[in-house]
């Protein structure tokens, strides 16, 4: 039950938090902006303010429930943290985001950080390119 996730984060189980978490779990696109979430809530006739969306997403991030990414768009996107780390590949035309994991890259990064005397807290690798999907020209 996701209510427990919210409680575990030290947060009260409120309607906005439950709705937003549900939404993240059920949404088509796994990478959504605060504005996206807000619009989905409006569409679902939920009376939740944009400020609350931002606050809740930030709290979820601090609690490790979601991850926040900055692609080259000028806004942040959030995705449910499903436990397994992965990197992203973003289509510059249609905006689709896909995920990948590469162990070689992971180990090389660790090695580089070691050599340079850095203790990694996190890392973000994003590849931008043009995808080959037939309908790439239109936004999804």
């Amino acid at each position: 039950m996701e209510d427990q996730d919210i409680r575990n984060a030290g947060l009260k189980v409120t309607a906005p938090r439950v709705k937003i978490l549900e939404l993240l779990e059920n949404s088509e696109q796994q990478h959504v902006s605060a504005e996206d979430v807000y619009k989905m809530l409006l569409a679902a006739n939920e009376d939740i303010g944009l400020a609350t969306v931002y606050r809740v997403l930030t709290q979820f991030e601090e609690a490790g429930l979601v991850e926040k990414h900055h692609f080259e768009d000028g806004y942040s996107v959030y995705e449910l943290n499903k436990g397994k780390h992965h990197d992203h590949i973003v289509c510059v035309t249609c905006g689709r985001v896909k995920e990948f994991v590469d162990e070689t890259i992971e180990t090389r990064q660790q090695k580089i950080a070691d050599e340079m005397g850095f203790q990694i807290s996190e890392h973000e690798l994003v590849i931008y390119g043009k995808c080959v999907d037939d309908d790439c020209d239109l936004k999804p």
Copy 2:
């Protein structure tokens, strides 16, 4: 002569452009924000507006003279394009930015993009961590 770089970019050789390019070439830190550039210009008694700084940096980026990066700060930083691609490792405490190149990671990325049917236009890898510099606690 850097005037020629500006001319080659199809831009008129004006005082703001020359000053900003000089500044990027001579600055201590190679990664600077628009605000940084603006402050440096003020310090050098140059009467150049912030809007112009943004415009010029954008034009330089389009011309390939500088590269723009988005670290996890909410603002963009620019650096002179010295031709050789590299990735970044950023200290989350003191803000220092270092560069690295790893051929293994580069080739793996290409392979991943190929497999996923993406034609890479660019990519951005940033490692965040804590560096071991003695004076890491203080901002540089």
